[in-house]
Symmetry: C3
Subunit: 465 residues, 3 copies
């Protein structure tokens, strides 16, 4: 099912260079510095329940496509906010198999075919006809020791797997992993959105909890900041090397102490003026950058997603159901307050992501090609795909170079897709480098060095691993 | 003049796949669900007057390019708003032939070469030297029965040809076609812009006329909506399966009944407040979506053109003279009111077009890859071209898949360019699919299935033909 | 080091066409109608000081990349605003050589390799190991007559080299060149930004000086405009054929005489209202367009750069230090006042540039494909690169054609990079044309004609050379 030359350009000369470059990185360990797998999997090391629960129900790439073509989320057994979840896993799998053609030309298809073949030895395209057989085969495999989370972790050659964790998280699973003696490196990432974004569900309770877990009085601006500092230190003790921030925009601010104090009071008491929620997020990015300058945690910003666009769906099924939609995102004016304050700091790594590809060549590459703190994250989310990765390289490299980028992130909650995603990235980078070599824009020895850098060296450096 | 491999990638392996795919769809019927041909041509079946009146004077792609290089519209015999139109057709043709080099690298050139060779047997590139001979040859052909509109319709293998018609249109030509017994399927499309856009020339008279033809009292909000509903029913009776809406932006609104009633009163009486014209268009998109949910007419939205940018030209020559210019277009926030209300409806097909290619991967593919009602129209107008189509596939497919698109629209008033335009689309789609196959991202049998889907199946389904 | 097929597509058929096209234009003279070289070089014809002063310290493409990776500008000997400049040129060169790998995949690397090999005969990639040897070799060469500015000018086959000069410039160097009897054609370009942009450093002194050099009373609107007219006439007498305008946006205005008079009074007296600075720039673009209609100087507009984004760097090192960042740029509404007034004028050439590539297909090609005065400048600044040029051709050609473009500009202050930059442009254009030929979208004889047009004919016509 999988051709060894997949994703390489068809031109024989270029393909042959791409294949050699890929061979040199294919078996390198996987470093996954940013993702959304569940640390409990590795703490408890229990079998995954069934193929549907593993492949379909947690993966919004899959069910959004099915939904767009009229398949209801109820019929797919997506959990509802009222706790209901029906649908027989076998029946859900059949629906999925019947609609497998919808994924033609998408990265989801590449990831799934890879997982089916490489992990389960399935050599036939999924279809209505073989749906039940595939289900059985995968289901049986999942009950075997080879498919326990830790066994897969080792099989995937994961050198590091970072999770994403709320600021108030106990990190108990990470601690349990460490205490277990298992050598797998599963690191937490500090993500404080839920105590910064006033519109986040449960914001006031989240603040309350932040006070409790930190032992700080979060009713004051100083106490709130101290609470965050303490939590960062706690994350760092537990292995974190990075923070992550998902904001509606890239807006930053640099308020005076009195302005910030007054703003926080309005935030804390809920007496918001128009624009306060956005201004607070903007100010917090600058505060968090300052904390990164102090504690050395690499800072990641993922702006530009309009969350929960489909109101009816959100009410019934909650967050992360495929209804987050990218919006135009401005970086140059938005980031200036933060960059004016910390942009020239040596001990600061600030990684920018985008969902707005028009910013690659216009804003992000020029910014990253100048400010010492800035690095560009890989093409993200909807753009984590062969065409998307290629556009990123084509549009960012000439201005930012390769060395202001940070390698690949899989950013996924679909654990079994991780090797497939990194494989796609290695192939696409090899193809891009091969084109530069074939067009005599890069020497072959340099391309081999770059292949290593893009696969392991840049990510290790940017995330201080 | 036309190479059989034109528009296929040069790489021999990819080209050979592309050629096979194209062979499988080359002779399929043409389905043209959206265009601007004149139904009277097919009702009356009279000869086209002369080559200049057929190829040059109605085609703003052609005369805008000539105008941009200093050729006056007067010298091309473009009709003026005061009724004047001078210029000898033969002389206009000579000017055109002399400037034929200006079209190098443009789709217009591809369409013209195709029409000249395939329809008129001209095997030499148009030039100053052969201008008169070509004119004579075409002119003579146009007087023969083979070149009457209905004969061409059949020769083009048109399965369906949709026209675009004002909401107040009598559809007399469509009725005459039907009554004639000729089997050609020429369908109307309901386009109510002229009774929705306050700034449309003659808006008040158009409203008046809407009241008359519908027998409704359009002085009230309810009467106005009922008039539109009646007109839609009339269009549907006469074969329409779709509506079309050309708005300055994609803005939608969902006002309360009392707000909408008050807004309409200001619109009707001409006592507009700032923003009313835009708000009314926004509200009407949502109203029209609701009507589509009820009557099943597929809804098409074409936003983002700044109409009549060149004031002096507009005053002398009127609309559609090549001075409509695309503008940045936002979809995510703009469409939310409409999508919140009707986005999850099963019986609703809403096709989006854009002139802002930066929205393909950022907004349109993510929206269409989620909402059940949404489909993406093909690359449109300035982007109906080999590079434009390729960018559309490259940027939309990985997120929206192929199955949230609707095949090709020619969108033209240049009747003789229709086979050429569909041929270009079939070739470019074949080339795109061939690259996916050559790079082992798609199986060959799937590519053949997709070629059929992109050519005939998706358009039939989306437009309910 | 340089392969003869560099920058040509790898596909053998396409490459062979590209090579033939390139051969036909490789040795044509270089026409450089827009750049930032120093006319004093050619007036005095003194040796360039040393490799570092020639290649590194004036080239913000180079030191911005080094700075982005933690190399301080002090260590590179970049001159400071307080006059300090330390750093041994040899040591700077070593730092540069050590970091040469950062330029992999960037156009800077292509330009440098070309200059090293073609001008200095260096056949080995620059590295830490050969840094000193390369420095010595270049340093020695620079002291020889063959490397004097005029000798290089002739060796580069420069037919025309335009500089960029302040409105108040004496043009003494241009006059000295002319008086010297040397035949090299070094032409000034009229750039009045410093007397139009209120926020330009020294704006009030600049105005004062404008009054002095013109002999006009610039305290009145009329006197100010007359002063500009006189300066334009002076530039024209000294060989200028063009003006250049670098604005933050493309905004234009068309105020009444009384509004403009009042606005200028506020500008002149420094009693600005909010928005006045921007409005004045907008109004001045329209005024300057009117002057171009009168005196025939070709007008160039370069909007969209956020200047001096890095405050700390600006304070220490001043302008043009790699911290100018592109921003989203709107053209359609912004240019309408100017185009409504002068867009249809026969004797007016208005060349638009952009740093926002999303405007190529959306705004610029549609505008240039309609308005007789408009032409598109080549891909600019960050986009003056193989991928950038290719995107420009791919995105602009189908709507604007080739003949609404103006050939290549090097826009550089790095004199030794000029042949390399034009060579890259000729190669990329040949590659683009070759693809059209290989895909049978353009006849081969037309491609050869176009290669000449894109290299020399269009630029001569657009700049009236």
């Amino acid at each position: 099912m999988l051709d060894k030359n997949r994703l390489f350009p068809a031109d024989p000369a270029t393909r042959s260079i791409a294949a050699k470059l890929y061979d040199s990185v294919r078996d390198l360990p996987i470093i996954s510095p940013h993702g959304h797998t569940d640390p409990q999997w590795f703490a408890d090391n229990q079998p995954f329940p069934n193929p549907t629960a593993l492949f379909i129900q947690p993966d919004h790439y899959i069910f959004r496509m099915l939904y767009s073509q009229g398949v209801s989320l109820e019929s797919l057994g997506i959990p509802q906010t009222d706790g209901k979840q029906q649908a027989d896993p076998r029946e859900v799998w059949r629906i999925f198999a019947k609609h497998y053609y919808l994924f033609r030309g998408t990265p989801t298809r590449l990831w799934l075919d890879y997982a089916f073949q490489e992990l389960f030895g399935i050599n036939e395209r999924l279809s209505e006809a073989n749906a039940d057989a595939c289900y059985e085969l995968i289901d049986r495999a999942l009950q075997t020791p080879d498919f326990l989370p830790r066994a897969l972790f080792d099989r995937f050659k994961l050198e590091v797997l970072a999770t994403t964790d709320a600021a108030v998280d106990t990190l108990e699973h990470h601690q349990k992993i460490k205490a277990s003696g298992w050598k797998g490196r599963v690191l937490p990432t500090f993500r404080p959105d839920a105590v910064i974004d006033v519109e986040f569900a449960g914001f006031r309770e989240n603040l309350q909890k932040l006070g409790e877990v930190s032992g700080e009085d979060v009713s004051s601006w100083k106490g709130y900041l101290d609470a965050l500092r303490k939590r960062r230190a706690f994350f760092k003790q537990n292995g974190a090397t990075a923070t992550d921030h998902g904001h509606a925009s890239a807006l930053t601010a640099d308020l005076s102490l009195s302005e910030a104090t007054a703003l926080y009071e309005r935030i804390y008491t809920g007496k918001l003026k128009a624009g306060d929620a956005e201004l607070f997020q903007a100010q917090m990015l600058t505060e968090l950058a300052g904390m990164s300058v102090d504690d050395g945690l690499t800072m990641q910003l993922h702006p530009g997603s309009f969350r929960n666009h489909n109101t009816k769906l959100y009410e019934k099924f909650g967050r992360d159901k495929g209804a987050d939609i990218p919006t135009p995102t401005e970086y140059v004016r938005a980031l200036r307050p933060l960059l004016s304050k910390y942009g020239n700091e040596a001990n600061f790594t600030f990684i920018l992501f985008t969902l707005d590809e028009s910013t690659y060549s216009r804003e992000l590459a020029p910014l990253a090609g100048h400010y010492p703190c800035l690095r560009l994250g890989p093409s993200w989310w909807f753009h984590d795909s062969p065409e998307g990765m290629t556009r990123f390289r084509e549009q960012a490299t000439e201005t930012a170079g390769f060395y202001n980028t940070v390698g690949f992130n899989d950013d996924t909650r679909a654990f079994l897709s991780i090797p497939a995603r990194h494989d796609v990235a290695r192939r696409v980078d090899s193809a891009f480098l091969a084109r530069l070599v074939a067009e005599h824009r890069l020497d072959e020895d340099e391309a081999f060095a770059l292949a290593q850098d893009l696969t392991v060296n840049l990510v290790r450096k940017a995330y201080r691993l």
